[in-house]
């Protein structure tokens, strides 16, 4: 097949092939391939409606030569990575779920079987773990970037809500996922994390109820498993769908630099995405092979190993709960208010969106981040049995 698009005149070679009857044409005579293909326009991947009366090859050629705003590059690449990494996590996660058994007796054993005894099981396990790390980093960076560029203002509120929800969901997937291996560190880290969850006023007890109670036992494990493999990924997928759909309506954003908009053909853009995927995969494989996570002892609910802390994104709340000289509900409430404050940013940030307003908001954001980091460091130095 020819790589270069020739949208001007029908290629005589193509017509000849059609007459000879390739397999695409063979199918085309029986079903409307273009109609089937037009499904992908629903996901916002293709920006134009598809003329379903034309044959598929022609449709593809037309779409391929459409001018699109490229987004497989900085800074929009963070959103693409959030979707790509999620796809990768789904693939490795499904394969891991074939062997994983979510009971306290079997969880560690089955994980060890995957890592130690299955061919390439270690690879899947480590890919999933490193993918999770990168995904957390990507959604966090993406949120910061959106904030920095003021992309929570009309008409992009829905994108902001979806981005915050994605960040929350990724952290929850991380929190629920790390318990599943049921090793000493992950178990006790979850125990500390549940203390933080429990301390949140109103929301804490409700969440803890849905997570299976305060004590980390078999009930909590099975709930975490269900949340991790079904509920949270479904919501995350919904967020991706909302993001793509909304982007299709409001368009990509280029507020920071006037010349940043790059228009290219859709075909070239697809190649860019492919290159990005290959690079991402290569980086993950490298991390997986060179820096595998160690494999720790199984969890023992009666022995606390030294230096146990909640997951890093809970450290700030943890420090506040453990050290702040205020009632627990108050420090929990502050953190809850902060979380919802970020979500509802479009509601309370007023102003014209001009450079002065943007600078002021950025300053507030940087101060809040600094406080959060300092609290987090404080939480990391807390060591209690």
């Amino acid at each position: 097949m020819s790589e270069a698009p020739r949208n001007a005149t029908p290629d005589p070679g193509d017509t000849a092939r059609a007459a000879r009857g390739g397999w695409v044409e063979w199918l085309e005579r029986r079903i409307n391939l273009s109609e089937l293909f037009s499904l992908i326009t629903h996901f916002g991947l293709v920006y134009t409606p598809v003329d379903t009366r034309k044959p598929l090859r022609e449709v593809l050629r037309e779409i391929g030569s459409l001018p699109v705003t490229a987004y497989a590059r900085w800074p929009q690449v963070l959103g693409v990575l959030a979707a790509l990494l999620f796809a990768l996590q789904t693939a490795t996660g499904v394969l891991l779920a074939y062997y994983y058994r979510p009971t306290p007796e079997a969880a560690f054993e089955s994980t060890r079987t995957i890592v130690r005894d299955l061919p390439s099981g270690w690879f899947l396990h480590e890919m999933h773990a490193w993918g999770a790390y990168l995904l957390v980093a990507v959604v966090a960076l993406r949120l910061m970037r959106l904030f920095w560029d003021g992309l929570y203002r009309a008409p992009r509120e829905l994108l902001w809500f979806a981005a915050v929800a994605m960040a929350w969901l990724v952290l929850q997937m991380d929190f629920t996922g790390r318990l599943l291996t049921w090793n000493a560190q992950s178990y006790w880290s979850t125990v500390r994390g549940m203390e933080v969850v429990w301390a949140l006023p109103v929301a804490g007890p409700i969440l803890a109820f849905f997570l299976g109670g305060r004590v980390v036992n078999e009930d909590v494990l099975i709930r975490f498993y269900v949340l991790h493999v079904i509920v949270l990924p479904a919501f995350y997928a919904a967020c991706i769908y909302v993001t793509f759909g909304t982007l299709r309506r409001v368009g990509l954003s280029y507020p920071s630099a006037a010349g940043a908009r790059v228009v290219t053909s859709f075909r070239a853009h697809l190649v860019d995405l492919l290159i990005l995927t290959v690079l991402l995969f290569a980086v993950l494989v490298t991390l997986t092979t060179l820096l595998p996570f160690g494999f720790l002892a199984p969890a023992d609910p009666y022995t606390t190993p030294a230096g146990v802390r909640p997951p890093w994104y809970m450290l700030a709340t943890y420090a506040l709960l453990q050290r702040a000289p205020v009632p627990m509900w108050l420090s929990g409430g502050v953190m809850l208010a902060a979380a919802f404050g970020v979500l509802l940013l479009p509601l309370w940030v007023r102003g014209d969106g001009g450079p002065r307003h943007l600078r002021r908001t950025r300053l507030w954001g940087v101060v809040a981040l600094a406080v959060w980091i300092v609290l987090g460091i404080l939480g990391a130095t807390l060591d209690r049995p």
Partner: protein, 424 residues
């Protein structure tokens, strides 16, 4: 008709008499049944079911006796001392067949009057040969010769406060036995006068005593485990390996097959204790292989060289096992399947452990059989784990190939991208 009131009257009289009789019976029952009254606190002077009225004048003895096994089994003061324990006057109480304090030389016979009675002891499943056995002991022999400063029954069992050997408060409860024997055998002047060594302190420094007294291991040997209980005597040359071999069976088996046993008996050397000492026995130290031989044989003799060789082999095997063990720990953390290796290392440790008893055979073929086997299992495990660790290096090598492939793919895609953009 007229008989009726008479009958009624006599019946009422009968009732009255019956009531009085019943009251008396109840009182008697209450008096006779200790359980019917509140639990008696030992009141010196009060009437005791076991001590009778003896405690009125002998309160200290009565309190001790009431707590003893004898009191529990219905033995009374009069069983040993004679007299009448229901009397309150000295003349009557100490009258009749009263024997008073039994002389030391007569104590074994007195105890034997019951304890050698098969009919009496059968219900308690107690042996009845203690008296006969005692008479064969060094204690019994000396007593027979008129030396009354030797152990008689009451020295070890107590006089009034006798308890069974299963009672932790008893003098004959295993951890209390060294102190019981040590009461005399730790008395240096008493022992020196009889030419007996002060074994008590030596024993306290031994591994046996540490096991028994510090770690509470009731199976550790006390004095009586080696010397006998009632027939206490030091084991003779030729018997030492039998005594030690009660527990150290493997050592005894190898020793019995060795060249040592004949030579040592001829030279009058006690078997085990010539190398290990008698009472101050220490834990098995493999490094003694290197030094023990030179204690009797010349330092440059073949025998001393053999000992050094055994020690070298043992040490090499132990080092190999330790190395394999640390490799397993490393492999576990990766993780690599190590369950099989752990089992094999345990097997190697078992071989090595058996090399120590086998060393009593002083046969390099037998000992080497164990140490070399232990060593080869260790090195097999080691090389297999090294092989698996090598797989990790393969992973890194594959990573290089993978990156080569990625770069080629990227180059192709880049070219495709360029051509696409140009065409556009």
């Amino acid at each position: 008709m007229s008989a009726r009131p008479i009958v009624r009257r006599s019946a009422s009289r009968l009732h009255r008499h019956a009531a009085v009789a019943l009251g008396l019976l109840a009182a008697a029952a209450a008096w006779a049944q200790p359980g019917a009254r509140p639990a008696p606190t030992p009141q010196p002077g009060a009437l005791s079911p076991s001590a009778g009225r003896c405690g009125v004048c002998h309160p200290a003895e009565r309190v001790k006796f009431d707590a003893s096994q004898h009191a529990h089994e219905g033995v009374r003061c009069t069983s040993c001392h004679g007299g009448d324990d229901r009397s309150l006057t000295i003349e009557l109480a100490h009258g009749g067949n009263f024997r008073g304090r039994t002389a030391r030389k007569d104590i074994p016979a007195l105890c034997a009057s019951c304890h050698s009675d098969e009919k009496m002891m059968r219900a308690y499943n107690l042996p009845v040969d203690q008296y006969a056995v005692y008479q064969t002991s060094v204690h019994g022999q000396r007593l027979k010769r008129g030396d009354t400063a030797v152990a008689v029954c009451s020295d070890c069992h107590g006089a009034h406060d006798i308890l069974g050997p299963g009672d932790p408060a008893s003098r004959t409860f295993a951890p209390n036995i060294p102190a019981t024997c040590g009461a005399c055998h730790g008395d240096t002047t008493l022992m020196r006068r009889r030419g007996v060594k002060d074994a008590y302190r030596e024993y306290l420094s031994s591994i046996h005593a540490r096991e028994l007294l510090d770690r509470g291991n009731l199976r550790a040997p006390t004095c009586v485990s080696c010397h006998g209980v009632h027939g206490a005597a030091p084991p003779a040359v030729g018997d030492v390996d039998k005594v030690c071999g009660q527990c150290h069976t493997a050592e005894r088996r190898y020793f019995a097959a060795s060249a040592h046993i004949e030579g040592m008996r001829r030279a009058g050397l006690p078997e085990c204790s010539s190398c290990h000492g008698d009472h101050a026995i220490q834990a098995a130290q493999p490094e003694r292989l290197a030094t023990s031989c030179a204690q009797c044989h010349a330092a440059d003799s073949d025998q001393a060289a053999l000992g050094a060789k055994l020690w070298t082999e043992y040490r090499a095997a132990a080092a190999e096992i330790e190395k394999a063990d640390s490799l397993i720990t490393r492999a576990d953390a990766i993780p690599i399947q190590t369950d099989d290796y752990r089992a094999r290392i345990e097997q190697a440790r078992t071989y090595l452990r058996e090399a120590l008893p086998a060393a009593h055979s002083v046969d390099p073929v037998i000992v080497g059989g164990f140490t070399l086997r232990a060593r080869s299992v260790g090195s097999e495990v080691e090389s297999e784990i090294y092989g698996k660790l090598g797989n990790l290096r393969t992973r890194k090598f594959v990573l290089i190939l993978f990156w080569f492939y990625v770069l080629v793919t990227l180059a192709i895609l880049r070219r495709l991208r360029y051509r696409t953009a140009k065409a556009h």
